[in-house]
Amino acid sequence: MASYESYSIMTGSGRNAHCLGVRVPPEWPFQSVLIANRGEIALRIVRTVQRLGLRAVVVHHAVDANAPAVRHADLAVEIHGATPVAAYLDGPQIIETALAAGAGAVHPGYGFLSENAGFARACLDAGLIFVGPTPEVIEQMGDKVTARSFVAHAGFPVAPSAIEDDDPATFVERARHVGAPLLIKPAAGGGGKGMRIVRDLAALASEIERARSEGQRYFGDGRLYAERFVENPRHIEVQVLGDAHGNVVHLHERECSVQRRFQKIVEETPSPALTPELRRDICTVAAGIARNAGYSGAGTVEFVFGGGTFYFLEMNTRLQVEHPVTEVVFGIDLVEQQLRVAAGEPLGFSQDELQPRGHAIELRIYAEDAASGYLPTTGTILTLQEPNGPGVRVDSGISSGQDVTAAFDPMLAKLIVHAPTRDDAIALGRRSLHDYVLLGCKTNIDFLRRLLAHPAFAEGEIHTGFLDAHPEVAAEPAIESALLHKLLAVAALTSRPLRDAADAVPALHAAIGAWRN
């Protein structure tokens, strides 16, 4: 099994010049960055900030006081909120903290305020540099409907659809024109709520009525739009990077098709579904969209791919959770690139200079019980041994002794493996998961091993319905008796009540054993 020799963009060693540890010049508009986030991404950003010779300031709620990011930061400031999540969503408090700490820039990470145009604007108004695109771009791309319409007008492919708002009277008819199968979505919705798949057009009218009443109930808004549904779609996205000088490059695609509850679990690059031609097309379209929008900073254009065609789904105007797979195949630190762009530097490379190498897979480690419907789990991390070695990278926001609670999203860490081929990467992933020890809180590590071992995954036959189509992946395998005896032996030998009871029996009787006259 082949792998790459060890290199780490975190410490700055390696082949690609773009990841050499270069400290930023003193003329930079900021020398100190406030990271408005938590967990693994906060730590990951702190590392790059410090590597570049900048000062890392981290805000945190009290429950995160012992988090790795907080311990590594140059300065950690506690923020407050009615709930822990509320604290990280409190824009004014965060800006106030940044100013008081002397930070010149704010990096929002992902989630929380990262796509909040109002927050971006407030930062700028306060004289802080927001590490991300302009508030206008965030606004335009943040609303699904306006983003879609912008992309369509620019001539890029979008899924056939019908938007009710355009002409409510003809909505049902236009929806019928979209053709089956189609997806009816609430315009005001999100998170997969209220969406219905219609396969039989005869039921269209009644499904629309039901969707409307659900939209009313969940979001207080019954307006809808209908979109062509791609059967067994594959989720393919393209990483783009633009500077403030109009340069935009793409860093190829990532496939994120393995999902549950519309949340990604496994991402990889390159996508096993794309031919070189399709890759070229989809990346060109993504870069084109970004260029047209005047995009600066790191962003991701998401597409739905199926039956040989792709349609624009949405654009995320921030760093994605799965950015590491792109980083390792290109040897580029995307957070560093974000900071450089935010500081006004032009991109340091052209499209032709970007040559990816090998195959990378990211596996998200969640605190959840896959076998029982992916219910989130809690517990104290009693011991933690993360895998390491050539081609293995772990972005982790947890440490031994930490409590995993229901306060936040259950993602604990990301395991990224990089190897010359997809098969090598899968093998490296399986071995790394085998060596990953996290005890005290149930995780999906065993589930991920079963997933990587599944023949359909090895064939690259993945799509967003993969886990529903293969329920055996989530199911815990039965424990056969030899294994059961080993586990019971371990439990027995480490438990005082059993040891004491065994030691209490007098030697004679223990030696005679279960004898009867």
Partner: protein, 168 residues
């Protein structure tokens, strides 16, 4: 009478005996000799049926977390006094427990309130879903153990009710 550990929802009775310096684990009709040697930092060497392998073990109260051959398992000690305890004579209390970890969004009742079976007690949020916790029986609210914004683990005690006695 045997001890038991619960593994994946099933109680397994077992017994440990010692003869000379060697421990034997008895499960049903099968007995195996087993040794466990610490190798530092939660790691151990387990030898069962003469095969030695590496195992990582972490204990927390009655919970034994095990990492063996790349898989993780949780065994929970079940004391026979708990396993065989029948209903307590005091059936007057009824409780509402959390079906999954989450946070409290809204509380609909106060101590002293009379509730009917199925009536909403509080609203929780978990995995971006909202779930209503309802009264398991007719009764009076004795105590609400959580507040808005508070997070809790699975099976946490949320509300205690005093069961309403049926009219004779």
């Amino acid at each position: 009478m045997a001890h038991a550990f619960r593994l994946m929802g099933v109680d397994h009775e077992l017994w440990l005996s010692r003869s000379g310096g060697v421990y034997q684990v008895h499960v049903g009709d099968i007995s195996v000799a087993a040794t466990l040697v610490p190798r530092g930092e939660h790691a151990h060497e387990l030898t069962v049926r003469d095969v030695a392998e590496r195992v990582v073990i972490a204990r927390h109260g009655d919970d034994v977390h095990v990492h063996l051959d790349g898989e993780t398992y949780l065994l929970r000690y079940s004391h026979s006094l708990e396993r065989f305890a029948g209903q307590t004579a005091d059936e007057d209390e009824a409780v509402a427990r959390a079906p999954m970890p989450g946070a409290v969004i809204a509380v609909s009742v106060e101590p002293g309130a009379t509730v009917r079976r199925g009536q909403a007690l509080l609203l929780i949020e978990s995995m971006k879903m909202e779930t209503t916790i309802v009264a398991p029986c007719d009764g009076t609210v004795q105590a609400v153990h959580v507040a808005i914004g508070q997070t809790f683990d699975r099976d946490a005690l949320l509300v205690t009710l005093e069961r309403l006695k049926e009219a004779p």
